[in-house]
């Protein structure tokens, strides 16, 4: 973190009010009563979804300055994440510095995009305080994973209390994990009630529901769990903890964003989407963005409604941006680490 970036932030192209939180732009998703008819009607044909997912990267291609702009957009949507047992305050401060200055100043200057930051920093509860301190004045929110992350099998009351503690510690976003067993056993009411309770515990902080899609068994379950969590008031739905063997994939993403679309069509509320884990290439990020643009619309191409949960993606984007500016392929060591 340098003083220079902190100073340039207010007159950045993004303005002084970062659009991170949904409530800064429009009302939060209030949720609705559990509509089991709707939930049970949801279908997801795996082969068809895979075909569409396979076409996404071939139907759209962004080149040159468009590619640079899209990659910068991706940067603003990154929840820069560290979720390791060996995290320390120092490590988190380093990450926060990267969040404030995700690209080398000369690169941002060349593109006239000074002041660009990542969407948020995502940490465990114990790391909230150092993160909040490190990001003070930047408007970059701290997100905390919660509710017995990643398995979500600690006592229910402790999970609720964990949310409350994280909010009290200054987290503006809470990434909760759902009880996969409720999905696997078809106990939609229990899932709904759990999500409702988590949302209530979050208060003003907005809540991302991690479905852990790699453990839900089928895309149909992903579709139904997505709907239930949105009905229960999730602000975001998120694929994975990053700890499952399969994390964010395009097919899973299609299912979830189609659920978001349907929920918006019926309720008017916009719920955000966060794929997490496994997205490490700039090219992948472009495919995700075009998928969001195609299936949900431009309104979702903004950090208040879309985030990447990623740690190594930024590094690849930095190198691609430098290539765009210089015309020569870049090297990782040329970009400051987080």
């Amino acid at each position: 973190m340098t003083q220079k970036t902190a100073k340039t932030a207010p007159d950045s192209c993004l303005g002084s009010t970062p659009m991170h939180l949904p409530q800064t732009v429009e009302p939060r998703n209030p949720g609705m009563d559990l509509d089991l008819d709707w939930v049970m009607r949801a279908q997801a044909n795996t082969s068809a979804i895979e075909r569409r997912a396979a076409q996404l990267g071939t139907r759209r291609s962004v080149k040159k300055e468009y590619q640079a702009a899209w990659l910068l957009k991706a940067v603003t949507c990154i929840d820069l994440t560290t979720l390791s047992g060996d995290d320390t305050a120092g490590r988190v401060r380093r990450l926060c510095a990267k969040a404030r200055q995700p690209l080398r100043p000369d690169l941002l200057e060349a593109l006239d995009m000074q002041g660009l930051t990542t969407g948020a920093v995502c940490v465990y509860h114990e790391m909230i305080a150092p993160a909040v301190a490190a990001l003070e004045g930047t408007g970059i929110p701290v997100a905390a994973v919660s509710t017995g992350f990643p398995a979500g099998l600690s006592p229910f009351d402790l999970r609720v209390k964990e949310i409350e503690a994280s909010v009290a510690a200054g987290a503006k976003e809470i990434d909760i994990v759902i009880s996969r067993r409720h999905v696997l056993t078809g106990n939609w009411q229990a899932l709904y009630d759990e999500m409702r309770a988590f949302r209530a515990a979050c208060g003003a902080a907005h809540v991302k529901a991690i479905l852990a899609t790699g453990e839900l068994g089928s895309l149909r379950n992903v579709a139904r769990a997505s709907l239930v969590c949105m009905m229960a008031g999730a602000d975001f739905i998120k694929t994975s903890t990053g700890k499952e063997s399969v994390n964010a994939t395009l097919p899973v993403s299609l299912v979830m964003i189609r659920a978001i679309r349907e929920y918006h069509e019926r309720s008017g509320a916009r719920v955000g989407y966060k794929p997490a884990g496994g997205i490490s290439k700039a090219k992948d990020a472009l495919v995700y963005l075009s998928m969001i643009k195609e299936e949900l619309g431009d309104r979702w191409l903004s950090p208040d409604l879309f985030r990447f949960g990623a740690s190594s993606l930024l590094g690849d984007i930095e190198r691609q941006i430098e290539h765009h500016i210089t015309g020569a392929y870049s090297a990782a060591y040329r970009h400051p680490m987080g």
Binding site: A48, A68, D112, L219
Partner: protein, 780 residues
């Protein structure tokens, strides 16, 4: 736009594929092309232009073939054929493999040239057409390799005339050329006049790999050249892909010529969405079904049939999806729809839509290029089957939609068409989907998907969508014939005489056998049947077109036969054999009396044996699971053709009739048989056996009468699906001509004899079945 501005707008910009290499290839060729005949390009003339439909730019000038040029191409193919055939399957496989390799090496060049010439999006040329082209050559390299071992009884047809359309220029070339070459044929191919360039590039590739001269010949030009090929006496087979109207004309023109014919024609393929479908995926599937290649796809899912309860919601989602389609420069990698192939086609589509205002028309606001042959994606809802746009092929990006209430009604509406190419079913219920697939009149059914193709899977239609299959094992039938010399069939006329003497036994009155009942002929006339000495053996009814009508109606109401189990059909065939055996002596005597000689006993024995053969086959003529590159199964199902009208051989009055009837019945068809003309009394004796053998009424109908008189009404009857003729009367041409009315399948002897002591069951079973390819992708 600056990066900062794009960051806010998040537009795509453009991502054009460079045409430089393709244009350079055209320049290298002088931007002018002659034909490719006998391994070399002929001198070009400036007869007509090939234009880029997206821009109107001239890409090259082409030569309109003259008759001497077509003659030269055919002569070159003829000269090359026997050597090519004698090269053997393994030898031909090397060349096909080299073609596949070369098409892969130059994949991008072919794709870009295709997009320039045809107007299709580069994504489709690059990701769909060209990979399928390569796959087709690889696959058929394998078929050539296996031919000698796996098809020892079949051989090449000879010279194939192949006429292909402009919607998939190089892909249709591959579908035609690869199997023809693999089986030892040589070809004279005519690409469509709008889109000849990739065929000429292919010719260049043939030259590069050293394909023997004359094996592939390519002549360019319009329909007049197609007519020259169709009419050419030294061509053995015509393969055509294109419109039903032209297909009908080709059927008529080749009638009686002895040419083999396969036709892959138009369609109005249903796209059925049940209320338990994955709706978003079904909406997306329509992008592949009707907006793929600007809807210029013969098997496009152009007729949306949707469950009434979800129709509004579905249409709403579809309209939203259509709003996301991007139209524009076909070379742009970020567009979904390019240009129609020619201004003529654009006018056709515009005219059809303007002339038919019925229904609610929807076109999303989209950026239409100011010039070029572009037509926006269009949805027309609130239509009924009676509306013209629900019946006629539009061949553009226009989807029509109607609703149904029940699965049965969905099937009824789906089949309410003259076409029968493809169909799509969307449902998450395996019971429902697999129940509907066999009920649809279509050669291809896709479950939860659309427009899936592969070299290993048969493709082709029923009804007026044509006949014959391309791809897979089924496709090889279209390029081979049974080995052996063909002998002429001598006409067998009824015995003459004064017809005054008769035996003194109690008078018997043979009748027609229609709907399980013995029926007098509508005409009220009978004809005397005489033995060799001129003595009257009996009188048989003279059937007329009205009796054909009645027989077909009876057959129609026996549709349940096709749904009965193969085991049951086998049991009934065995039972017929059993009952025939009980009356063997009497029938043998009758044969001897009618035919003269002592062959009766052997013929009855052979007939019983034939019944047993097809009883055996009934539950053993199995389909396949095609080896397509997909997680799922592509089933090649054998389905009955439907109602088959057959003129039985004159020379083997009992064995011939049974050889025709038994395979048809075994496969679940209903038949209208016209008995041996000189010896019809065997047939009229035989129906008594049918009466006692549990054959359902209407499954077998037997007429007696003049083959010459009955040929045209039989072949023209719209509710008959196939006509076979083994008659010694000269009716093959008449049958083929009249069959053009509904493009029914025909199988005629062209005056050639058949040895009825051999069953040749593979030929009969293949003729008695249609291969339906059912694509079932799966995965949870």
């Amino acid at each position: 736009m600056t990066v900062k501005e794009i960051f806010e707008s998040m537009d795509y910009g453009t991502a054009p594929e460079s045409p430089a290499e393709a244009l350079a290839w055209l320049v290298d060729q002088g931007d002018r092309f002659g034909h490719f005949i006998d391994g070399a390009f002929t001198d070009p003339r400036n007869d007509f232009e090939s234009r880029n439909p997206a821009t109107g730019e001239i890409l090259a000038t082409l030569t309109q073939a003259t008759l001497p040029e077509v003659d030269a191409a055919v002569a070159a193919a003829r000269k090359a054929q026997s050597k090519w055939q004698k090269l053997g399957g393994a030898g031909r496989a090397r060349y096909l493999y080299a073609l596949a390799r070369q098409l892969q090496k130059h994949g991008r060049l072919v794709a870009v040239l295709e997009t320039l010439d045809n107007g299709k999006p580069i994504r489709e040329a690059r990701d769909v057409d060209i990979p399928l082209v390569q796959r087709h050559f690889y696959y058929h390299a394998g078929m050539a390799q296996l031919m000698d071992d796996e098809m020892p009884d079949r051989e090449a047809l000879g010279v194939c005339g192949q006429i292909i359309p402009w919607n998939f220029p190089i892909l249709m070339l591959a579908w035609k050329v690869a199997p023809a070459l693999a089986m030892g044929n040589t070809v004279v191919l005519k690409p469509a006049e709008y889109t000849s360039l990739t065929a000429l590039l292919f010719a260049d590739i043939c030259r590069q790999i050293g394909l023997p001269k004359g094996v592939v010949n390519i002549v360019t030009g319009d329909g007049a050249v197609g007519e020259m090929i169709t009419a050419h006496e030294r061509i053995d087979k015509i393969a055509f892909t294109g419109s039903t109207a032209v297909g009908r004309a080709i059927r008529t023109a080749t009638a009686g010529s002895g040419k083999a014919l396969t036709l892959e024609l138009g369609g109005k393929s249903p796209y059925i969405v049940f209320d338990d479908a994955d709706i978003d995926s079904a909406v997306e599937g329509l992008v592949d079904a009707i907006f793929f290649n600007q809807g210029q796809v013969c098997c496009a899912g152009s007729r949306l049939l949707i469950h009434e309860g979800i129709a509004d919601r579905f249409h709403e989602k579809l309209r939203a999806r259509m709003g996301k389609l991007r139209l524009g420069n076909p070379l742009d990698k970020s567009i979904d729809m390019g240009a129609l192939a020619d201004p003529v086609q654009l006018k056709t589509v515009q005219g059809m839509i303007a002339d038919n205002p019925a229904g609610t028309h929807f076109t999303p606001p989209c950026d239409m290029p100011a010039t070029g042959c572009f037509y926006p994606p269009t949805l027309i809802t609130d239509l009924a089957p009676a509306d013209r746009l629900m019946q006629e092929e539009i061949f553009g990006p226009v989807l029509v939609s109607a609703t149904f209430r029940t699965p049965a009604e969905a099937v009824e509406m789906a089949n309410n068409t003259r076409y029968g190419l493809a169909a799509t079913i969307w449902s998450e219920n395996i019971n429902l989907a697999l129940d509907i697939a066999p009920k649809l009149a279509a050669g291809v059914v896709w479950i939860n998907g659309s427009n899936m193709f592969d070299a290993a899977a048969g493709f082709g239609g029923v009804r007026e969508s044509g006949f014959g299959r391309e791809g897979g094992w089924a496709g090889l039938t279209a390029y081979t014939r049974p080995k052996g010399r063909r002998k002429a069939l001598k006409p067998q006329r009824p015995h003459g005489g004064d017809a005054t003497t008769g035996d003194a036994a109690l008078d018997r009155t043979p009748k027609l056998y229609i709907g399980g009942k013995q029926t007098r002929p509508d005409s009220g006339y009978s004809r005397a049947v005489l033995d060799k000495s001129g003595a009257i053996l009996g009188h048989v009814p003279v059937a007329s077109r009205k009796d054909i009508r009645n027989a077909v109606e009876a057959a129609q109401s026996a549709a349940g036969w096709g749904e009965s189990s193969a085991h049951l059909r086998a049991q009934i065939l065995y039972y017929i054999g059993e009952n025939l055996s009980a009356r063997a002596d009497e029938l043998a005597a009758r044969i001897d009396a009618l035919m003269g000689g002592k062959s009766g006993k052997a013929e009855v024995e052979a007939s019983i044996d034939r019944l047993f053969t097809y009883a055996a086959w009934a539950d053993k003529y199995e389909g396949r699971i095609n080896g397509v590159p997909m997680r799922g199964a592509a089933l090649a199902m054998h389905e009955p053709v439907g109602i088959i009208g057959a003129f039985c051989p004159d020379e083997a009055p009992l064995l011939g009739l049974i050889s025709v009837m038994a395979p048809a019945l075994a496969m679940g068809n209903r038949v209208v048989l016209v008995a041996s003309e000189p010896a019809p009394l065997l047939a009229t004796d035989f129906y008594q056996i049918l009466d006692t053998s549990d054959v359902p009424a209407g499954a077998v109908n037997i007429l007696t009468g003049s083959h010459l008189d009955l040929a045209a009404p039989m072949a023209a009857h719209m509710n008959i699906d196939a006509v076979w003729s083994f008659s010694s009367s000269d009716i093959s041409g008449e049958i083929e001509r009249a069959s053009a009315s509904n493009l029914k399948r025909t199988w005629v002897n062209n005056g050639h004899a058949r040895d009825w002591t051999h069953a040749d069951s593979n030929s009969f079973l293949a003729a008695a079945t249609e291969v339906k390819t059912v694509w079932i992708p799966y995965g949870e």
